[in-house]
């Protein structure tokens, strides 16, 4: 009887430990994935976006709008995704200033790459430590006006 109890206890202890290990691993993997997205997102940002929006996301005068501390970023997540892929033209208002410089499209960017860029800019300048997935990006891109 005692033997059975001990066995059950061991079983419980082991399975509990395994459970925490499993959770640890998932969160660790998530963290690593998040970091990877940030690193890759930064690389892509420097390659495709920083010419105009600057390395520090501050934009340039009244020509190119800022990404850093931008109300547009907070309120227009979908439009940001669409603009990254399909570009944008006409006036947009950012932090009360009207900008009117055409933004070129980046049709070659994959959904994963856009997810990485979004993760980077929102984490770095949007005050949101969130990861965007390629599935979310695909869904948003489907709803863009300019496809």
């Amino acid at each position: 009887m005692l033997g059975i109890l001990i066995s059950i206890s061991w079983f419980l202890i082991i399975s509990f430990q395994c459970g925490t290990r499993e959770e640890d691993r998932t969160s660790r993997e998530e963290k690593i994935k998040y970091k990877q997205y940030l690193i890759e997102g930064k690389r892509l940002y420097l390659q495709h976006c920083s010419n105009c929006h600057q390395e520090d996301g501050s934009g340039l005068a009244r020509l190119y709008p800022p990404i850093k501390d931008s109300d547009y970023l907070r309120n227009n997540e979908k439009n940001v995704v669409c603009s990254v892929k399909y570009g944008q033209s006409g006036e947009i208002r950012v932090n009360g200033i009207i900008y009117n410089q055409p933004m070129p499209s980046n049709l070659r960017l994959t959904n994963l790459e856009i997810a990485e860029i979004m993760t980077y800019i929102y984490s770095t300048w949007g005050g949101e430590k969130i990861i965007f997935t390629h599935l979310e990006i695909a869904q948003v891109l489907d709803s863009c006006e300019k496809k």
């Binding site: 005068a61 009244r62 410089q101 070129p104």
Partner: protein, 219 residues
């Protein structure tokens, strides 16, 4: 030459010391870039050789305020020239951010001007250049944005400022062009070429501007 001779040794030392001074970059005159032509000139019974330095040709363009801009606009000024277009997605925004640094540094110095030529004059009209300059927050008495006949702009880019400019459908934005900043002195000679997309190169340019200005103080 006898190295033990004290007079000779002193001369050699002096030469070395002078050479040492010359290697200090800041005391040197900036170079004259481009092709030089040496012309013999007969004066009385002697022959004098005049060096003709590469010179920026005559030009006439229209700026962001619809005013005509010619070489006369830059009389008694040194200026930095470049070539760009407002919708350029690649190197131009970097060049403009760098040019803005120069603008801010020499804002209050009337001897320094900036000249940006659009290489897409069909799209970059006077109104558009006006809006562009306005959005950059710069004024035309310091920074001229000019448009004009396309051939004239390409010609002066290639032959006077020695930078390549051409249309190419295969590159983003549709134009190949150099990101160079060209430093021109008061006599229309090119005294420096810099990569306008490289912050360090532009730092070098901003050190060369006071050196060039100093040459005129000494005269």
């Amino acid at each position: 030459m006898n190295f033990n001779d004290p007079v000779n040794s002193i001369i050699i030392l002096l030469i070395l010391a002078a050479a040492g001074c010359n290697t200090e970059r800041n005391n040197q005159k900036l170079p004259y870039l481009g092709r030089k032509q040496v012309n013999p000139v007969q004066a009385n019974n002697t022959i004098r050789y005049d060096t003709l330095y590469h010179t920026i040709a005559d030009f006439s363009f229209v700026n962001q305020d619809s005013n005509t801009v010619t070489n006369q606009t830059f009389k008694d000024k040194i200026y930095v020239a470049d070539f760009f277009f407002t919708t350029c997605p690649t190197i131009c925004p970097i060049m403009k951010a760098q040019m803005l640094r120069i603008y801010d540094t020499y804002k209050s110095n009337p001897e320094v001007m900036l000249l940006s030529h659009t290489i897409d004059p069909d799209y970059d009209t006077v109104a558009l250049l006006h809006d562009f300059a306005d959005r950059l927050g710069v004024s035309s008495d310091k920074w001229q944005f000019v448009t004009g006949n396309k051939e004239d702009i390409y010609d002066i880019g290639q032959n006077s400022y020695m930078v390549t400019t051409m249309e190419d459908e295969d590159v983003p934005g549709g134009y190949i062009h150099s990101g160079a900043f060209i430093l021109v002195d008061k006599d229309r000679h090119i005294r420096g070429l810099y990569d306008g997309t490289d912050e360090k190169e532009v730092d070098r340019l901003m050190k060369d501007i006071p050196r060039l200005l100093k040459e005129y103080e000494e005269i």
